[in-house]
Homo-oligomer: 587 residues x 2
């Protein structure tokens, strides 16, 4: 119906007769002339209706915001002084000759440019209005570009797009499953997949060699701000390729994506062992844009009498670390109190600090509630190790290592953001050499990734001393966010049995849960590995979004509901009966 998109008109079109279709973004009546700002997905064009064409003028006078109209007219240059350099179409306008109202609109529940004045609930309930906002349109278009770019890269590299089932069995990620009652198999349930993990491994056993899928995954978890019950994964798996090959290939994918879509060259991604990341940044996904680092000081503090520090310093599972913030001596007591509450979220019982006022005066020049407990000598040794300078503040964490890492790691990012210490826009890296296992509170071991991740030692070495053994896993991190994670998988039965043994998984349990994969490993499984990217997070980062709901067309709330469609909803008794289930209690 249209000859051009509204947003595509430029001065090169002056003199052309055009037909536009779109929404009335704003209607103005100015100097006896009607101006309609006509909007479509490409942008806005100003259309002018003169009173000398009475029919269309009267019709234009009658339209309201968000009416859908078709306009025929002629492109002309805007008069001097009315050119709008901010708009792509700001040099031209369309002189409207014919106007057709294709559909009317009731007054919308909120105006597009006033979306911030209404709660997110209102916007989600009327998502079809909210989605008209140019910012959201831009983000979802960008998402479409991202997936297309990635698909092209993977196809160019010989990857096959293969669909795996949605109605399936529990997968090994260990989060809570969404279940689907089966009608034809009474009392049985499908699970929605938490990832295509097992299927992609089977595809390698089948010899597809290079698989990818942009796949929906499901986790029935209590939602944090950046989670959704259904999310999208860029899922990749290859055979006969080691970690170098897989990391190189996927790093190339992300690098090309940033160059082609953002004109940003991310360069080669540095690699950092997990242990270094935890030590220097208190995190396995460090945000390297922030130049602050954690420094261990336990050795300096283990012999002092102050138990708060000396205790964790002597505990093999404890950690005492310091975080030096240049310029932080200016922080007010109020802000320091806020930071103390902030680290409390992560379990820290307090936040010790030292302001470095006049280092040339020795310990006298340090302002702190804790110097007296450290002793002046020790305090100065700490300053020396930190290479502290006047105007710095030093924060301390002393507790179980996990708490110190989480608390100071989070504080590091918060302070970095608050004090504008972010040095560059993009900081990618690979975190490698993950531990194979982590310890549960009862001393038993769990797989840090999943039990199909390959250790980097032999089965015998693994069984002899599982603690401290590394896996062949790798995570891609960007700006403190885990973009993707993967590993070389176990393809050898002996190794798989060794891992199960360490995890205390019996043959029966393994067989019951993953029998089909174990069987596949017996029938010629090739060496293989892969990686899965979180698409939603990638889009968030690339579009500078602060909420995952901005990059998903129809998102759910934190209570896993869709306000637009009112899902989940009630169903009839007859439907439940067909599925052989009933409600435990009536809601």
């Amino acid at each position: 119906m249209r000859s051009h998109y509204c947003g595509d008109l430029r001065s090169e079109h002056i003199g052309e007769d055009v037909t536009l279709c779109g929404w009335v973004h704003r209607r103005r009546d100015h100097g006896g002339v009607i101006f309609l700002d006509l909007r479509d997905r490409e942008g806005i064009t100003q259309v002018v209706f003169d009173p000398d064409r009475e029919d269309s003028f009267n019709l234009a006078d009658s339209v309201r915001n968000e009416y859908v109209v078709e306009v025929r007219g002629t492109v002309r240059g805007r008069p001097e002084g009315t050119i709008n350099k901010e708009m792509g179409t700001g040099e031209i306008e369309v002189l409207g000759k014919e106007l057709v109202i294709l559909n009317k609109s009731e007054t919308p529940p909120f105006q597009l440019d006033e979306h911030q004045q209404v709660g997110e609930d209102v916007r989600l309930r009327h998502r079809y209005i909210d989605l008209r906002r140019p910012e959201i349109q831009r983000k979802l278009r960008f998402r479409s570009k991202i997936t297309h770019n990635i698909r092209n890269y993977l196809e160019d590299n010989g990857f096959l797009d293969i669909e795996t089932p949605i109605l399936t069995r529990a997968t090994p990620e260990g989060a809570r499953d969404y279940l689907v009652p089966s009608r034809t198999h009474e009392g049985s349930f499908f699970a929605l997949p938490q990832s295509p993990q097992l299927f992609k491994q089977l595809l390698m056993v089948s010899g597809f060699d290079r698989y990818y899928q942009i796949a929906k995954c499901f986790r029935d978890e209590d939602l944090r701000a950046d989670r959704q019950p259904e999310f999208t994964q860029i899922d990749i798996e290859t055979s006969f390729m080691d970690e170098e090959g897989i990391m190189g290939l996927t790093e190339g994918m992300i690098r090309r994506l940033f160059i082609e879509l953002l004109d940003v060259d991310l360069g080669d991604f540095p690699r950092m062992p997990y242990s270094e990341a935890m030590h220097r940044y208190g995190s396995d996904k460090p945000d390297l844009r922030i130049p602050l680092e954690l420094v261990d000081v336990a050795d300096l503090l283990q012999d002092i009498e102050f138990k708060v520090f000396a205790g964790p310093a002597k505990d093999p599972k404890g950690r005492v670390a310091a975080l030096k913030v240049p310029g932080g001596a200016e922080l007010t007591r109020k802000i320091i109190d806020e930071y103390t509450s902030f680290v409390g979220i992560y379990g820290a019982k307090g936040l010790a600090w030292i302001k470095v006022n006049e280092l040339e005066k020795g310990a006298e020049g340090l302002q702190s509630p804790i110097v007296k407990f450290l002793g002046e000598d020790v305090a100065m040794k700490v300053m020396e190790r930190l290479e502290a300078k006047n105007g710095d503040i030093v924060f301390f964490g002393a507790d179980k290592a996990t708490i110190v890492n989480e608390a100071l790691g989070a504080l590091r990012i918060k302070v970095g953001e608050d004090m504008n210490l972010i040095e560059r826009e993009w900081a990618p890296l690979w975190v490698v050499d993950f531990p194979m296992f982590e310890e549960n509170s009862d001393g038993s071991l769990t797989a840090l990734h999943h039990p199909f991740t390959s250790p980097s030692c032999s089965p015998e070495e693994l069984i002899a001393e599982p603690e401290g053994k590394l896996s062949r896993a790798y995570d891609m991190v960007l700006n403190g966010t885990e973009l993707g994670g993967g590993s070389i998988r176990i393809h050898d039965q002996t190794m798989q049995k060794a891992v199960f043994k360490v995890l205390g998984i019996s043959d029966e349990e393994a067989d019951e849960k993953f029998g089909f994969l174990l069987n596949a490993l017996k029938h010629g499984a090739p060496p293989h590995g892969g990686l899965a990217f979180g698409l939603d997070r990638l889009v968030m980062l690339m579009t500078g979004s602060t909420s995952i709901r901005e990059v998903i067309a129809f998102p759910k709330t934190q209570s896993a509901a869709c306000l637009l469609t009112d899902a989940p909803g009630e169903v009839s008794a007859a439907q439940l009966r067909e599925l052989n289930i009933k409600l435990r209690k009536t809601p």
Copy 2:
């Protein structure tokens, strides 16, 4: 790890040192030399191990079928007389120098080239073996090519790939939903979508203008041979485009796909009104590769005394039609009996026939149990209308029109296939001008497509006389299969209310089921329409498959089970308790 795929080696590689990875397809011991046929996804290469390299020779001697190995060696030309023109790699072989066994394999449950000797159950249970068959590999690779080609076409045409939810509400297709109990909203259920229909309409209301998605859809129906509980749809919707535009665009997509992937030019697709398709072919998805047609003969038969014909001929809802099959006079009594049973499946109470032996003798030359009931004169008039020739057979259907259409429509295809009457490989067409409604047995009306399909008349005309009104729907048909269907949707509230009124849907019911869409129509919905293709069927047709399970990596059985993973399965009582449901009866 590899330098080349096995299947990629050609005589141009002679003299090169290569590294291959793959599966031992077959091991032969011939003249003191070991031959391994090494297979990967690109094909098979013959690798030769001489006894003079003892280590690798002995290792090669020890391998068995489906072992995974890495081979280093040198490409050389095959000796005269051993060249195999059938294979891409048939001019060369690799002289193996080093061999590494990457993984062993137990004896597989069936040999790849003996798959037809085992039941489909065995193959589905060991799908990772079955998927190694070159034929299935080829089909799934072709599927990946199809989706990539289609995505490129749609992206080139400005379509945005936008994901819609899987955890959602019941959609308007009316089949049985798969339900997902909500944990956070006790007693409530999500439904898995039967299509993204409502969401794609909302995206048009939001102004995305051109949307597509290759989307998983779900229907909990009793499965026919060519159905799966989850299937994949190529879903397309556009705004400000009429049926000509949409049909042109999607026809272009399929035409390009066939040219680029099969080197087949489908040409312009003919268009046929629904009524003509039913009359000439007894089907709304006629297979035009078969030159047989149904011919109405009711007017010739309505006055005869033979009630079997005269009854339906006089019934306004009846039909009496004839199907002439050239050369069919040769059909044996046994085959005709088979056809009689065959039409019985569709409700036909019998299958009358006339063999045309010697037309020059008049009715004397007709061989038939029914000529005596027709009368010779009438019988000859029928022959005249059919332009019958010696050697033909004419079959008759006389019943309710729906039964005659289904029975003779199906017989037409069966006879066409049995007698090799298929004239060309590909016969696409558009079926258009569908009725808006169909009549239920109680005389009430149902939407032939769905209630959001736009009628091709005004709301007033629709209400005044809904029977016989047409819709703006269109189906793309290829070789008797519906590849895709779509329509211009209703964007106008008054029209939507008129359709609901005709369907007897109250305002409350409409609001309860589709309130969010009706609300969206009030807020500036543009004219819009679209189409959805069944990807699985498209792949079936293009790969010449006879079962949908051949083009899906992990298909389900007709009882909607996955034999490989044993899904659906039992879940724990604790899981059900968390979801606030229990089993009605224990299985």
